[in-house]
Symmetry: C2
Subunit: 214 residues, 2 copies
């Protein structure tokens, strides 16, 4: 917090944008990018306006000119459901691959944390928790569940969301050893073994979940 006064955020890189007189839009988006990173990494309470503005290379007062308050800035970078849109169009037997890709690709947590982590690490904020729950409900127990056959479609859809969340957390935030070292192929293989069982209705009494139908 001492020698970190380096500007971490002129890497939007569209135009050189010399030291003075940037455009307001650029500064706004730089603040949002810095806020997403700080909120995601340190949570709402742990990220200060001064640090965020420092990352963006501007003064803290600009946050209040462009957003009005810390809460408004937080809300403007909170997670949206867009990252799940592609899941809704993936064939069910490719969901495991999608999950594997979701928890693998994208920038690592050191650069840009998952939007989910931002909510989690800010879970003292009840509005963030509520919004997260509503988003999950709309995407998973809402639209995704419609594609599932068998009983308790909403519950199974939310279990998928839970496993997606847990796997993403473990791999990208906590980096437990085996998950951190796992190849995408191995990860997808074992994700498939579990997710297939979850998404496909059972067809035999023993709890068999094989997609071959036994």
């Amino acid at each position: 917090m001492d020698g970190s006064r380096v500007k971490a955020k002129d890497d939007t890189g569209e135009r050189p944008a010399r030291a003075r007189k940037n455009s307001a839009a650029d500064t706004r988006s730089a603040l949002m990018a810095a806020a997403a990173l700080r909120f995601g990494r340190y949570g709402y309470d742990g990220a200060s306006i001064r640090d965020i503005a420092g990352d963006a290379g501007v003064d803290a007062a600009l946050v209040y000119r462009y957003f009005g308050s810390k809460e408004a800035l937080f809300a403007s970078v909170s997670m949206d459901t867009a990252i799940f849109d592609s899941l809704l169009e993936v064939p069910l037997d490719e969901v495991a691959a999608w999950v594997s890709d979701f928890v693998t690709n994208g920038p690592p947590d050191e650069e840009i944390p998952h939007p989910v982590l931002s909510v989690l690490r800010s879970s003292s904020r009840e509005d963030a928790v509520r919004q997260f729950r509503d988003n999950v409900a709309e995407v998973f127990s809402g639209r995704f569940a419609e594609r599932l056959e068998g009983p308790d479609a909403e519950l199974r859809a939310e279990l998928l969301a839970a496993w997606l969340l847990g796997t993403s957390l473990m791999r990208k935030a906590f980096r437990t050893p085996a998950l951190d070292a796992a190849t995408t192929a191995a990860l997808e293989s074992h994700l498939r073994a579990g997710i297939t069982g979850l998404l496909n209705p059972r067809t035999c009494e023993c709890g068999c979940t094989c997609p071959c139908g036994v």
Copy 2:
């Protein structure tokens, strides 16, 4: 934060312990109980020493007499792996039931949050993250993985931990609608469908995971 000056923590209830001159041990444990609740609910940054001490019915200065610092208090109530000990002795085909019980029983999040949530909501604290990772590695990719047959035992064990974590989070912290309303039986049923696939090595090429061996 205003009218909440009620004493939430003389419910240790062993002896009446009149208003003055409690035993040091009682006060210490009252502080730890209040700290576990506050840290778990609001995270490290969101829980103040004054609030914790207020919940315990004592002055904030006592935290420093008994623990030395806020960090030491946090460390003393951080999660230990004891809550997973019983899992290590559960037969593999009862793991789903154990997980269902883990994410169902115990006090609801409003009363006492899971120790895991304390770490998650304080995940800006690198030492807490590190300790959590080490604990998971020791319990799951360490001891639990030894019981698994088939390839990638450590990875599959950590995936189980990830799903346990995700399911617990969704059900107890975020309370997504279907998971919040689910019966233990329905939850266990669908957990079993997925976990069985994860824990049992596959025996046919199509990805079949049925324990009946097909």
